[in-house]
Symmetry: C2
Subunit: 283 residues, 2 copies
Amino acid sequence: MKLSFIGTGVMGKPMALHLADAGYDVSVYNRTFSKAQTLEPKCKAFETIQACVKDADVIFSIVGYPKDVEEVYAEVMQYAKKGAILVDMTTSSPTLAVKLYQQAKEKGFFMIDAPVTGGDLGAINATLSIMVGGDEPIFNQILPMLKAMGSTITYMGKEGSGMHAKLANQTVIAGAVIGVAEALIYAKEKGLDLNKMLNVITGGSANSWQAKNNGAKMIVKDYEPGFFVKHYLKDLKLVLEEKGNLNLEVVEKVAKAYQILEDHGYGDKGTQSIIEYYLQNMK
Amino acid sequence: MKLSFIGTGVMGKPMALHLADAGYDVSVYNRTFSKAQTLEPKCKAFETIQACVKDADVIFSIVGYPKDVEEVYAEVMQYAKKGAILVDMTTSSPTLAVKLYQQAKEKGFFMIDAPVTGGDLGAINATLSIMVGGDEPIFNQILPMLKAMGSTITYMGKEGSGMHAKLANQTVIAGAVIGVAEALIYAKEKGLDLNKMLNVITGGSANSWQAKNNGAKMIVKDYEPGFFVKHYLKDLKLVLEEKGNLNLEVVEKVAKAYQILEDHGYGDKGTQSIIEYYLQNMK
């Protein structure tokens, strides 16, 4: 079975390598060719999308923003074999995912949306959680490939459902991370020892992955990403684009805070840097 | 050593019984005398605060609201022995805790603030987390008693620090619980299977105690408390009273949502009922 993988960045590189390790014949493409070359000899690197995808049975992608997804699939649908399965794993727009699904159908392809959580470590260790939208029989065909990249694979429903699930997941994080930031700011203002405070928080019903991991980083002002502010802001904007008449007040607040952080030069910092929004009293 | 325990409700009853089981001579008082009587014969029940506290070396309390705390200690400080240690374990106002600490000092007592987390199960199993403010030597004197009631005892600093720590803890929960609610509302609107969604959420960096426990209850609309809306709203209002110039936007949003829930008759429901704020689009 011939596979293509488009986008061999921090996430895509280990994911493509896992597919190769699982015995698939994997072609890779990256906008910066030298990055694709680092996957050789396990994968074969190509300089154009056309060359990369023309013989592929299944084509995966994980790129940056919805506009990148749109550009990539405009080309893919021009050059891929009829009957190919296209799997976008970028966290992207559910509306775009539905549009691409329909275009693919019209042009004789099958499209699946399959964004992931678990970060670079999840990609490296093949422990990603993958949320899948699209036709279930197609999902079942690619399941062995997804299992090579992740440890939790969840079929969420029709086209776009994988993207919606990922956005809902990011919504949970919005509340969790800002709650930790407001609590630490309050505790600091009241002169409490923040490490003791975090021990209390993580010892009971306030505990969360965000408190344990990003809380500890907030205390020492370690803003290394982790998960980039600019990428998380993209995700939250997608939630707001998709929310319709829903009243998602906390997502709105958190998106606003991250927008202000990005405007202040924090786009390439980790999401834990939201504590600076409070420390600097940014407006 | 003679101890008194004031307030033998859902929390106070098992806490007082643990002290008795640890070998202390425990007198108990409750506004409703019959509730205090249910602790006999392990503890001795009294019909007045005066009779309950007059011989005590250490007096504990866990009552409802700051005004109850104020009333209780007005009486306690009238009738307790000079040199007695007074320990308020109610989640109450840090400002009131500081005021009572000073009054106690003037009148020849020692005052400690020691609110708890862990709920009724933590009280029953003696696994409470107890956050302590006040003079450290006094803290050390009562530490064996606190250890009879809790498994994590943290000395947070001077008078009021225990209360501040508890309020910071409640602030973390505010973000966590509302993030879960907004995510589930989004997922529901997009037609996703909410149980699958919660599995995804709890499998990664969105995971939290609130998602795991209250998320599951939100899905099936099980609003049994748990932790009462009316009590949590009290805690959030205390945070807002104490925050000074801090910009705690999410606490404000969440307090507003719970106020609206209380106004709609949800005061005696569990905090997970915040999902109804979104489902009913309450204003």
